[in-house]
Subunit: 533 residues, 2 copies
C-alpha cells in the first residue's frame, strides 16, 4: 500500500514511488526530529519503522537535496507545503447494515463543504442531514476534499489527492460525516479530480513521470495515463479511488472532466478504474458507482466493456442544463448559442444528449453520437450546479435570474425527468447567495494569473460589472448559504414544491421507472411548450 | 467535389476549402495567363469556368498575396512547389469484371515504385506482373504515391495527397498499372498517409485549420480530426480515400501509422472512413478493405462498430516480425529487447498480438489487449517490410543477415501462418540490395535536419559504420532491385520455395482456413522450436 500505513504498536510502513530519486529518506519532524532511510527497488522506496505513531509528522527527502510532503499523504495538518502526518486509519464505523443504493434511486444534492455552513466543516454538515433526508434527496455529493492550497477553494486545485482538507476537519471528520449519512440512509458521492493537479503545492513531478509529455489540459499538464511509467501513475490513481471506496465508505465517485483524461492506450485508465472498483465493490458487498463528467457526448464512456465501453455507470449531462437554461433565461451568449429552442430539450428527453452528431456552432464541428444503448438513469441532469453557477462572472444562481414560477418549472423538469436529478445546495429554497469562484493561494504571481484568467474567461460573454476577486476572503464569505431563508414565504413554497416533486418521483412508478424510449416528447416551437409523457 | 473537376467541353469546376482566405482566385498560368475569381461561401470557394481544358496549369491565389498549388491538386507536373494541372479523369478501364478479392485470399507484395525497377515508374512495373502472378501473390501494395518533394522518397513525405507523383508517371500511368493488375487478377493496395504531411511543400496551413492545436506526431504537426473545423479536414481525407477507391479502382488502402491519427471525438475519423468506404464499395460493387498500420495492440481498431470498434478490416502486426527477427538474427537491441524467446512467437500464433497487456520494457508500461474476437485474417504478418529493413542504419535486408536456410524458415513462418502474409519486394529471391532511407528535398536546412535526425535515430542501437546520406542519389540507386538475381542458383531455390509455399497455402484447406483458435502452438524454449499445427 502506497503512503504511510500505521500497523499498530508504534509501527508504520512507508511506500513511495519515486523513480526520479536515487535515495529517499523519511525526515520525521515531529514529535522528534530524525532521518530514516528507505530501501529502493525498481523505482519504489519502502521501509517499516518502529516508534512512528499516529500524529508523527514527516517529509520525504529526495537525494539529500529536497524535502517534500508524501505524494500519498493522508493528512496535511499544516497545508500543502507542510509535513505529512501519519494517521491511524481505524474508525468506529456503525454503517455495517448499509449496502449502498442502486443508481436509479439516486437523487443527488451537490454541496461545497466550505460554504454549505458558516463553519465550513464536515462536522457542521451533520446537523443538516435530517433536513436533507426530509427533502427527499438520497445522496449528497461533496465537491473535492483533497488537500488544496489555503482554506478557500472549490476543490479542483487539490494537490494531495489522498489527504482530506485540513480546514474541513481532516480525514476523521470526513469519516464521521459519511458514517452519519449512512445512518440516515444517504449515500455519499465524492468528487475527485484525475485530470490535472492544482498549480500550488504540486510536487509530484519531483517523484516521477506523473505528467504526460504528449497532452495538456486547460488547467495545466495532463496526467500520464498512457506513456512510459504510466502503470505506476495509474496505480496511484487506482489506489486513490480504492482509498475513498474502502477506507471512507464512499458510495460513488464523480470523476471530474474525464475528457481531459487523455489516454490512447488499448486498455484505457477509465476502463481499468471501473473494473477495479467493481471488483472491490463485490468484495465489500457495497454498491459502488462511477459518474463521469464528460464533455464528449460519447456513449463509449457509459457503455459496458463488452460493447467497447469504459464501463462508467453514468455521466453528467450539461446538454440538459444548457437547453433548460436558455429557455428560462433567454441567454444565448457563449456556448449557450448551441442550445436555442425548445426542440433541443425535446431531443435531449428523447435521446439523452442534445448533440448526437449535429454541427455545433461553438465547437465548429459535428459533436457526439446517439447513446442508443444507454438507459435514462445513466444521465445526471440539473438546472444548476457549481460550474454552471460559478463559471458565470458573478456566480449568480438561477434564483437571481428567474422568477419563483420559473424556478418551479426548472425543478419539475429536473425532478420529474427520467434521468438522475442533481440539485446544487440551496437551490431547493431559492438561495440568493452567489456561488463565485474563490481561491486562497499563497503565491502572488499565481493569484494574479488566476485573476487575469478569470477576467479573460468572460471575453465571449457580454456581462456587465466587475469580476469578483477570487482571492478575497469576502468573495468566499458571500457564497455561504443562508439556510434560514428556507422558511421565508416564497422560499418555503419553493422548498415544499421540491419536496413534493421528489415525493412524486419516488412514489409514481411511471416516473420512477421512466425510460427514454418509453416516453413521448413533443415540443411546439410556436407555443414554446414541451410535452413529455 | 473538391479540387478541379473537368466537366468536358472546356468547362472545369473548382472547389477549395480555404476559410483562412477572404478572397481566392484561380491564377491560370498555362496555356494562357489569367486570373479568375472564385465565389466564397462559408469557408469554401467555388466556380465553374469555360475554356479550361485538361492540361491547364494553375495556382490558387489567396487574398491577393500568396499563390499556392491546389490542396486537392490531381497532378503536380512540376513538383510540389509548381502549378497544379487540370486533368481529365476519364480512363478506358477494362476491369469491369473485377470485383476484388476477399481479404482472406490476400497474399501481399509490397513494392516501392522508385526502386522496383531501374526506370522507377508505374509503367515499368507492368511487365513484371506476369512474374508476380506466377509467384502466386494476389495483391501488390504500393508505397505512397502522393506527390512528394523531388524524385526520390519512400513516399511518406507526400504533400499533395490527391496528386500522383510526377516522376512515377502521374495519375494516368497509375490507372494503367491498376488496370493491368486487375487484368491478371491482382488486387492493388495503396499506402496512404493520413497522420502528417511532409515537411517540404506543405501549404495546407495557408488554407485552413488542417493541423491540430492539441497533438503532435513524431513526424510533425498532427492533423486536425477532432478540433474546430475538423469536419472539413475530415472531408478532405474522406474524399481522398474515395478518390483512390473510385477513380483509381484501388482494392484497399494501407493506412500509415494510425496510432498517430489522434482523435478523441465520439465518432472517430477511422470509424467514419470505414463506414464511408464500405458504402462506396457496395455502390461500386467491388470489395474494398482498410488495413491499418497500428502500434497500439488495440483490438478496437479492427473490431466492427457494433462492438465499439473502428471497423478496419485488418492491421499490420509488427509483433510477429519482431519475434521472428530476434529468433533469426539474435539481435536484441532497441525495441527488439521486448521480443526475446520463442515463447513470444508462440504467443503471437495463439492470440494475434505478442503483447496483450504484458509489461513492455521499451515502452515502460503494460501494452495491448487480447484480440479475442478478431480472426487470424485480420493480421498482416511479414518477416520484412520497408520499415523493418529501411529503418536499420544500413537498410540491410534479412538476406544480408541470414543464411538461405534461415530465409526459407522465415518464408515458411509467414506463408504457412494463419495470418495474411506480406512480402517485401525482392525477398522472394533473396535480393541483396539494401532498402535505405532516401529523400530528395530542395530545402538545404531541411536536408541537414533529416540527416541529423537519421543519425540520432540509431542512438539506441549499436550498429557500426556510417549512416548513408539520405539525400544522395547514390543511396537511392543502391536500393534498386536486381531482378536478374532471381535466376541465380540459391536465389532461384529460394524463389521456388516461396512459390511452392504460396501454392501450398492456397491449396491446403487446413492452411487456407487456419484460425488462431483452431491451431495448436507449442514452443520449447530449450530446443528453440515452435510447433504449430
Amino acid at each position: 500500500q502506497l503512503g504511510a500505513t500505521y500497523l499498530g504498536e508504534g509501527r508504520c510502513s512507508f511506500e513511495v514511488w519515486a523513480p526520479n530519486a536515487k535515495i529517499v529518506e523519511l525526515h520525521q519532524v515531529s514529535p522528534n526530529d530524525r532521518i530514516l532511510p528507505l530501501r529502493s527497488e525498481r523505482g519504489y522506496h519502502r521501509a517499516t519503522f518502529e516508534k512512528v505513531a499516529p500524529g508523527a509528522r514527516y517529509f520525504l527527502r529526495l537525494d539529500n537535496t529536497i524535502e517534500r510532503p508524501d505524494p500519498v499523504s493522508r493528512f496535511q495538518p499544516e497545508g500543502v507545503h507542510g509535513p505529512s502526518e501519519v494517521i491511524d486509519s481505524y474508525f468506529e464505523w456503525t454503517d455495517s447494515d448499509w449496502f449502498g443504493l442502486p443508481l436509479r434511486d439516486y437523487i443527488i444534492y451537490e454541496l461545497h463543504v466550505g460554504t454549505f455552513t458558516q463553519e465550513g466543516t464536515f462536522a457542521a454538515i451533520i446537523p443538516y442531514l435530517p433536513e436533507l433526508k426530509e427533502l427527499g434527496i438520497t445522496a449528497i455529493e461533496l465537491m473535492p476534499v483533497a488537500q488544496f492550497p489555503g482554506d478557500r477553494n472549490w476543490g479542483y486545485d487539490g494537490v494531495d489527492l489522498f489527504a482530506v482538507q485540513n480546514s474541513y476537519g481532516g480525514p476523521n471528520e470526513l469519516k464521521r460525516l459519511v458514517n452519519a449519512c449512512h445512518q440516515v440512509g444517504l449515500a455519499v458521492i465524492l468528487d475527485v479530480v484525475y485530470n490535472h493537479l492544482g498549480p500550488e503545492g504540486n510536487y509530484l513531478r519531483d517523484f516521477g513521470n506523473y505528467f504526460s509529455e504528449d497532452y495538456h489540459t486547460f488547467w495545466g499538464p495532463a496526467l500520464n495515463f498512457d506513456g512510459p511509467d504510466s502503470d505506476e501513475v495509474r496505480r496511484f490513481f487506482l489506489e486513490n479511488a480504492l482509498h475513498w471506496q474502502t477506507d471512507f465508505h464512499m458510495d460513488a465517485l464523480r470523476l471530474d472532466a474525464i475528457h481531459a483524461i487523455r489516454d490512447a492506450s488499448a486498455f484505457p485508465f477509465l476502463q481499468e478504474l471501473s473494473q477495479i472498483t467493481q471488483r472491490r465493490s463485490e468484495m465489500l458487498n457495497r454498491r459502488f458507482h462511477l459518474i463521469g463528467e464528460s464533455d464528449l457526448n460519447n456513449p463509449r464512456v457509459i457503455l459496458p466493456g463488452n460493447l467497447g465501453g469504459y464501463g462508467l455507470d453514468a455521466q453528467w449531462s450539461d446538454d440538459f442544463h444548457h437547453c433548460l437554461h436558455v429557455l428560462l433565461t433567454g441567454e444565448k451568449n457563449g456556448y449557450y448559442a448551441d442550445f436555442c429552442g425548445i426542440k433541443r430539450l425535446e431531443k435531449f428527453f428523447r435521446e439523452g444528449y442534445t448533440y448526437t452528431g449535429e454541427y455545433s456552432l461553438t465547437r465548429r464541428r459535428r459533436h457526439g453520437l446517439p447513446p442508443k444503448l444507454n438507459q435514462a438513469k445513466q444521465f445526471v441532469v440539473f438546472s444548476q450546479n457549481h460550474d454552471q453557477i460559478g463559471n458565470r462572472m458573478l456566480g449568480d444562481r438561477l434564483a437571481n435570474l428567474c422568477s419563483f414560477e420559473d424556478l418551479k418549472l426548472a425543478a419539475g423538469c429536473v425532478l420529474l425527468s427520467p434521468f438522475i436529478p442533481l440539485l446544487f445546495m440551496g437551490e431547493e429554497y431559492g438561495e440568493r447567495a452567489p456561488f463565485q469562484y474563490f481561491i486562497s493561494h499563497t503565491d502572488r504571481g499565481l493569484v494574479e494569473a488566476v485573476q487575469k484568467g478569470r477576467r479573460e474567461e468572460f471575453a465571449n460573454f457580454v456581462w456587465e460589472g466587475e469580476v469578483p476577486d477570487p482571492q478575497a476572503e469576502s468573495t468566499f464569505n458571500a457564497c455561504k448559504l443562508n439556510h434560514r431563508l428556507r422558511t421565508h414565504e416564497s422560499h418555503q413554497n419553493l422548498y415544499d414544491l421540491y419536496r413534493e416533486l421528489i415525493e412524486i418521483r419516488k412514489s409514481v412508478p411511471a416516473i420512477t421507472n421512466a425510460e427514454k424510449d418509453s416516453l413521448e416528447a413533443q415540443a411546439s416551437e410556436s407555443q414554446n411548450v414541451l410535452f413529455v409523457r
